[in-house]
Amino acid sequence: MRDVYGEVLLELGKNRSDIVVLDADISKSTKTINFAKNFPERFFDVGIAEANLMGIAAGIASTGKTVFASTFTVFASGRAYDQVRQSIAYPERNVKIVATHSGLTAGEDGAMHQSFEDIALMRAIPNMRVISPCDGIETRSVIRKIASIPGPFYVRLARPPIPIILNSSYQFELGKGIILKEGTDGVIVACGIMTHIALEVSTLFSSEGIDLGVVNMSSIKPIDVELIKALAYKYKYIISCEDHNVIGGFGSAIAEVLPSINTKLIRIGIEDTFGDSGKFEELLRFYKLDPSSIVYKIKEVVVSDRV
């Protein structure tokens, strides 16, 4: 995802002179360095100063430019929260915050670098749009698309390579989820790195004769209310999946628009705790977000419902 971000910035930089990119000393990690090398006059490294990063981004955007500001998700959403709220979102500045090393994907760096609250923080800010792409193809489409939509965005990107799910003709649409697989017994709605895991969960279930659909819902805000309604009328179980705190995050966003009918929402995510050090795959197991653990959790809920 990060590599794709770097590539699309380069492509945007070539085609549009209004694109400006800012980073806070981690351009090699966020991949904004590609843009920096090719367009040094439109790239600014502000050093380890995330508050200033957001403020400068807002100032540049006020002159009519489209500004991409990048750092890690934990700093973009937490360290610079007030600047994002006051300097970017309130006056609706044309700043695209593209943050990397989301959630568990910060891996070995541990709790201090793992953001499990960023979706909650960012989506609670009026005017802010929140997107968590599921793979490189979607990342490419999202970055291209938001570059042409005025106003603030927060995009959450993973650190490690994530398997490609979507086909190359896929086009991201703001506020739209997509059905990757129809099912009959329930549906998993996921975003970001959890979408490919949701597909694996569905495969595991199908070997047991249980048919779960899968929906990729990268647009967390605005969220696809119509699709969620339709899913609620069709399925008895909706399972939300996120590598983020279950409080205030993606599952909560779904819960907020779920119609009051007899559908059960099972929220899978980080259970209100801080992170830990480890390889991304290890952490998925540690936090029971790997496919087998998710299968187990879903079964637990469904069985207890039947008792």
């Binding site: 400006v20 006059e41 439109r42 600014f44 502000v46 050093g47 100063a49 508050a51 200033n52 957001m54 403020g55 400068i56 981004a57 807002a58 100032g59 540049i60 955007a61 006020s62 002159t63 009519g64 430019k65 007030d82 600047q83 709220r85 006051q86 300097s87 309130y90 006056p91 609706e92």
Partner: protein, 278 residues
């Protein structure tokens, strides 16, 4: 606009009057820091800055960013002088739906340039505006006023460092050094001195002036515009509550509206007692 010193003084007097009128009517607002900033704001808008009042989004305009957003009644009073704000709006300060929000909101009042109020953010924004000016080879200037208490915010110094890195000699900061903040004197609450040395250490050109002396304000702004290679910080020594005897240097008037009885005294002191405003 290049008004004479006499005109600037007259305007400043009316701006003080309307500032206090608005705050008294609202029974809420920040008179002290509005009055200390008034003479500088009047000089910027009626002498130094280039802008077209009928075209607030003109690309080449000079920009003024009021980082100490609580002083916005003074800015609103200036916008009233410029005809941007209507007379009846002066009665709507801090009221729901008003363009005259408790802190400036550029969505309602674009000429305010920056939605300020969370202290410490204006200088970073101004760095961005000035940087864009350099990028596009525009010759506009970016002026930004910060409070002395506001300088306790760490972000101010992040911005200071970056303005020097980017050699923003088109950026001119003004510190309203009135010496007081809500809890008392800045030097008691959290010392900011030696302030001039701090800015110099961050690579800024520093000018110190009496922030109520129009000639000094004009000269400092001109010198700052001519200075090349790095940004300038004008440390303007001011008096909180300036112009009203019982408000001067009174920390209580940081965020307290005058009573109706005090308003009667204000009218007498500003010798504009008869007709309201205009």
């Amino acid at each position: 606009m290049k008004y004479s010193l006499e005109r600037l003084k007259e305007i400043a007097q009316r701006v003080r009057y309307n500032t206090l009128y608005m705050i008294t009517r609202a029974v809420s607002g920040h008179p002290g820091g509005s009055l200390s900033a008034t003479d500088i704001l009047v000089t910027l808008y009626f002498h130094t800055m280039k802008y077209d009042i009928n075209n607030p989004s003109l690309e080449d305009r000079d920009r003024f960013i009021l980082s100490k957003g609580h002083a916005c009644p003074a800015l609103y009073a200036i916008f009233y002088e410029l005809g941007i704000i209507r007379k009846e709006e002066l009665d709507t300060l801090r009221k729901p739906g008003s363009r005259l929000q408790g802190h400036p909101d550029i969505k309602r009042l674009p000429c305010a340039e920056f939605s300020s109020g969370s202290l410490g953010q204006g200088l970073s924004f101004a760095v961005g505006v000035a940087l864009a000016g350099k990028m596009d080879k525009k010759d506009y200037y970016t002026f930004v006023m910060i409070g002395d208490g506001e300088s306790q915010e760490g972000q101010v110094w992040e911005a200071a460092m970056s303005a020097r890195k980017f050699k923003l000699d088109n950026l001119i900061g003004i510190t309203d050094r009135n010496g007081l903040q809500i809890d008392g004197s800045t030097e008691d609450v959290m010392p900011i001195e030696p302030l001039a040395d701090k800015w110099r250490a961050f690579g800024w050109n520093v000018i110190e002036i009496d922030g109520h002396n129009f000639s000094q304000i004009i000269d400092a702004l001109e010198m700052a515009k001519k200075f090349s290679g790095s940004p300038t910080m004008i440390i303007a020594h001011t008096v909180k509550g300036r112009g009203i005897s019982f408000m001067e240097n009174m920390v209580d008037f940081h965020g307290k509206a005058p009573t109706s009885k005090e308003w009667e005294k204000i009218k007498l002191e500003l010798e504009l007692g008869g007709e309201l405003i205009d």
